[in-house]
Amino acid sequence: MKSITKQKPLEEIEQQLEGLERAYIIGCGTCTTMTKTGGREEVLAMKESLQGLGKIVTGWTVIPTACDDMTEAHLKENEGSIHNSDCLLVMSCALGVQKTGSYNSKPVIPAVDTLFIGIEDEPGHFHEVCDQCGHCVLGYTAGICPITACNKGLLNGPCGGTNNGKCEIDKEKDCAWTLIYKRLKEQNRLDLMRKYQPPRNSQVVPRPRLTRVS
């Protein structure tokens, strides 16, 4: 799983830090390192930026995987400089922001926006692959997810906005249903596309979603 993030504008980070003069910066060695939004280099650049805004950086760290349980131990190791700060500026996805917040009473401030779960196509280019909708239809759609790959998340075929295999929102973007159609046709399984798909259950697991796997 890769959580795709993008850094917030410095202006927004500054707004969130209003009244918080001393910050401790936390990066993540997993997803935000890969997306270059919260790895070591970005943490150091953020340190410079905050100092440029007149803030005091009491310390920084890059937690190997900010969303797992080791985060607690990691924060303990850095207790001293965290104690001296007014807040934690977290450069991980929202999972890490919430995890660090749960182990610490200091305000946690996100430095990045969490966008989606995605795959890297080429360096710096990511695309969303799963909406975690709770009811997987890939078995009917030739392994291409219409919930994420179609702008409208349609289940019964393409809309009228598709043109030459592209999407109405962007002439460069492939129409998900044209891709699904082509692949099903190759597999001689077009009957799957002719089958009526009922509306999705939006409450497979009501929000906030909880589950026990085993």
Binding site: N151, L155, P158, G160, G161, I169, W177, M193, Q197
Partner: protein, 299 residues
């Protein structure tokens, strides 16, 4: 009261529908004027539903105006802005106001419109909305609960006969008919030979087909649509005809083209009728009908 759209579709006559675009704001004088102008000349008047994802006065409001003018409204309903509860509620309300026709559409993407940060809903799609209507006619809502008073609609949908590739669109067309579409209004067509080929296929199904006629107002518009509007193809000879029009006469040429196409479709009974879209130029729809040799509603 004139006959209903359903009666018109089943009468075997060449059916004429057109459309009204509601205003952005509360000044509905222009829309009212268009309704007054067209209400007696067509068998049904669509009212667009935030067309191109541009927020406007609601389709239901326009349909009620048409009813108040003694006309036959066709409620365009997209799945873009409402979840299944809101869609059902609007269907119940529409029915109580005498609206009997619904055109079921998926709806354009939010990002092509004027509220680019809004949330697109798309909980249902056009096929599922058609099914929902048929389900509500059985006296139940989508939650499986009894309705105290059911609905009954003449439900329709759209198809793009010039889409490329065409097969995925045709699969969906067939799903719409299976889901309960009684009539189909097509995306604009300009190549009558191509359209006749589509009709050879479409005639296999129990559904009435109204060919989409979009008024061309200039060669520029035709070229723009060719480049930018999915599934619209204006042949070069029509573009040249518009270009050859004397200054200030392109609109009249467009009216003549539309009239000529309608007359040809009617003469050879290629389809069951036409749906005239004179986007922003509704006042010339009577001229298009006159050019087609049609007076009054499809007579």
């Amino acid at each position: 009261m004139a006959q209903s759209l359903k009666e018109a579709l089943n009468s075997g006559k060449f059916v004429i529908t057109s459309e009204i675009g509601p205003p952005k704001g509360t000044n509905i004088e222009g829309m009212r004027h268009h309704i007054e102008l067209l209400v007696d000349k067509v068998d049904g008047l669509n009212v667009t539903d935030h067309q191109s994802s541009v927020m406007r006065f609601p389709s239901i409001g326009g349909c009620i105006e048409i009813k108040e003018h003694g006309g036959e409204p066709i409620l365009q309903m997209t799945c873009r802005d409402r979840n299944q509860m809101a869609l059902q509620a609007d269907l119940l309300f529409s029915y109580t106001r005498g609206i009997r026709n619904v055109l079921c559409l998926t709806g354009d993407s939010i990002v092509v419109g004027d509220h680019k940060e809004a949330k697109g809903v798309f909980e249902l799609d056009s096929v599922q909305l058609l099914k929902a209507i048929r389900h509500m006619e059985s006296g139940k809502d989508l939650g499986g609960n009894d309705l105290d008073g059911a609905v009954e609609f003449c439900a329709g949908a759209i198809v793009t006969p010039e889409a490329n590739p065409i097969e995925p669109q045709l699969i969906k067309f067939e799903k719409k008919i299976e889901a309960g579409a009684e009539f189909i209004q097509t995306q604009a067509i300009y190549d009558l030979d191509n359209f006749a080929k589509f009709m050879d296929y479409a005639r296999k199904f129990q559904v009435k087909i109204l060919a989409g006629i979009v008024l061309l107002v200039s060669a520029r518009m035709a070229k723009y649509m060719n480049a930018n509007v999915p599934g619209i193809f204006v042949p070069q000879n029509l573009i040249e005809e518009l270009e050859a029009a004397p200054k200030g006469e392109a609109l009249n040429t467009g009216i003549a083209i539309a009239g000529r196409m309608i007359a040809a479709l009617k003469k050879d009974a290629i389809c069951d009728g036409v749906h005239i879209m004179a986007i922003g130029k509704e006042e010339v729809v009577p001229d298009i009908l006159a050019a087609a040799g049609i007076n009054g509603s499809g007579a």
